[in-house]
């Protein structure tokens, strides 16, 4: 796809225009991200609320029916279901199973375990199981 930028400091309102043969998931994701004004999530720890920037989030996982948010050095609680938070996330997040979403920029490598399961090892050494069906999505997201 050809990408053209017109940079004009006097512009009143920023706009993006796409010329496409058809709408794709990738373009939908990009559009959603361009329209999103929020780049953080309100997360909770010990009853206090913290704005956690998307880029700091490594993993969002359901544990004991609670949505937990992992950053490099903290674990927060998010007061909504996983499918609800999924709709707010930018495109660098990808569901690796029904109960976990990772930030693929924080993915170090995948490991096939002796029992045949696949674990994603994140840069902060957190391990999360990857559903074999999601490998294809991960591959696509990495441009493979």
């Amino acid at each position: 796809m050809k990408v053209k930028f017109n940079i004009d400091e006097s512009l009143q309102e920023k706009k993006a225009e796409f010329w496409l043969k058809k709408m794709t998931d990738k373009i939908s994701r990009i559009t959603k991200e361009l329209n999103s004004k929020q780049d953080f999530l309100w997360c909770f720890k010990n009853g206090d609320a913290f704005p956690v920037n998307f880029s700091k989030i490594a993993l969002i996982q359901v544990e004991e029916e609670k949505t937990k948010i992992y950053t490099a050095d903290n674990i927060y609680l998010y007061k909504a279901r996983l499918y609800q938070v999924k709709n707010l996330l930018p495109h660098e997040f990808i569901a690796v199973s029904r109960g976990a979403i990772i930030n693929y920029h924080q993915l170090d490598h995948l490991q096939i375990l002796n029992n045949g399961n696949i674990d994603a090892i994140l840069t902060n050494k957190i391990r999360v199981q990857v559903s074999r069906r999601r490998i294809k999505d991960l591959k696509e997201r990495l441009g493979l």
Partner: protein, 142 residues
């Protein structure tokens, strides 16, 4: 839509495996004579064409067992194997006019194991390659 597409692809893979199976069976049926003597009925060919497609679709549906992330791979494979084998045995019993015999069970089991190893052997080999590719890409982007 994606599920339907994957189901059709699985059915077509089933046709691929089924036709190779049929060709091998046909070649073996000539008992060392010239391969030009091999013959089969069109009705039989069409039956196995459709059956192979349906077997492929069934394999796809049964593979949903592999979505049970909380199960170990061993448990998933064992459950999947017996679910698919039960269906294969029923098909073989149907083809044998519902006449049960241990020879039929053993022959169905042997043919099923070969089919299963080919289908899932290919699947896991692809999966292993995909994981390797992903790790390579992640390594290169560091």
């Amino acid at each position: 839509m994606k599920t339907f597409k994957n189901m059709v692809i699985s059915g077509l893979v089933g046709i691929g495996i089924g036709m190779i199976w049929m060709a091998v069976d046909l070649v073996l049926s000539v008992n060392g004579q010239s391969i030009e003597n091999a013959k089969m009925f069109v009705s039989s060919f069409l039956f196995w064409l459709v059956a192979s497609f349906l077997i492929g679709v069934f394999f796809y549906l049964a593979s949903w067992i592999f979505d049970k992330d909380q199960w170990s791979l061993r448990k998933q494979v064992v459950v999947n194997f017996f679910v698919c084998f039960a269906a294969w045995l029923l098909l073989n019993l149907y083809l044998n006019n519902w006449q049960f015999s241990w020879t039929l069970v053993f022959s169905a089991f042997a043919s099923f194991v070969i089919m299963y190893v080919i289908a899932y052997g290919l699947y896991f080999w692809h999966l292993w390659k995909d994981v390797k590719k992903i790790n390579q890409r992640l390594e290169n982007s560091k």
